[in-house]
Subunit: 223 residues, 2 copies
Amino acid sequence: MWRLYQFPLCPFSRKVRLLLGEKGVAYDLIRESPWEGQDAFLDLNPAGQTPVMVEEEKGVVLIDSQAICEYFEETVEKLPLINGSAAGRAEVRRLTAWADQIFYRDVVAPLLEERMKKRLVHRAPPDGGRLREAMRNANTHMDYMDYLLDHRSWLAGGTMSLADIAVAAQLSVADYLGGIDWAGHEPVKRWYSALKSRPSFRPLLSERMEVIMPPDYYEKPDF
Amino acid sequence: MWRLYQFPLCPFSRKVRLLLGEKGVAYDLIRESPWEGQDAFLDLNPAGQTPVMVEEEKGVVLIDSQAICEYFEETVEKLPLINGSAAGRAEVRRLTAWADQIFYRDVVAPLLEERMKKRLVHRAPPDGGRLREAMRNANTHMDYMDYLLDHRSWLAGGTMSLADIAVAAQLSVADYLGGIDWAGHEPVKRWYSALKSRPSFRPLLSERMEVIMPPDYYEKPDF
């Protein structure tokens, strides 16, 4: 059985979990708080980041959310998520990288720092200016997603792909942390509502991170 | 013919160029300085980052260095660089992500900011403390590479892969900017010397970024 090292608000672990859910791969969750820098975890992944996946019987250790997703895309045939022509797959990977790097850097990383780490680790109040900037960035990035979804059924094209999963994973953490203003983003809202209703998404939405509570509407597909 | 939008010290463009060189794909270089935020470039890539590749006749635009590398890995058979078993390919992608994200964040991004952007854009002196921290980080990361190369011929295993290319691309930019102290890193030095001698690497090493000059030894395979 696969084990997945993660914490509930890790957007990259959520990306992996959504893909595993869609592909029907079973796994056990292992709670890991990378900011604690536990030696046993650093031995597993010197970069000190979640997610990490381990299959002890096969002797396989997988590190980095994209490497993990590509691994299961290559080894599990069910529901291809990096799909289409070579150019189509490049578009899936472009938007996946946009979620993992740009949306994370501009929105999710500052929200996690100000609303989670400062509370759990530093016992300090959040920086209001940084929170407002993250929310402004979220708004700009959702304008871009609205634009894409005005032209396509899913973010990267006509079918659901890893791009939808990666963006929804980031967005769901930002939403949990109260960083998303949904007003004026009807296309993104419709798209996200459809994803929230999927069986792969339900378990993630029902989990809570200690001390930090999401907004009331967070779990509802109709919000 | 493919066009590649880049600037000489973009480590991600170097990664793509090394892969294209190894695979024998021809392309024209287009100079782009993403920090200038040119409208035409932002129309091409809303994320405003190099590299971008365009093949106008085919109507294909490729964005994000990893999406570009995966595209050519899928479409050009010569010299597989994401190679081996599924677990082996995951190891290649793990170390490629380590180069692109961790080594870049800890070493190359601060060096580019302090030694290139402050000079070209802000006309400000570099922050000595940040430079020293980047160099300390480089040393720590090269210790890890020494460890890998004590156990393997190449970074991800027995054959050259995209991991070697991605790490060498980052390292070459850090070296250009005087951020690498080679003393005490014999395994990395031997590995890098072998890569520097390859025909794919020679054109990159002979290019210069305006105003900023590399150390004397930068271009030499024997340094």
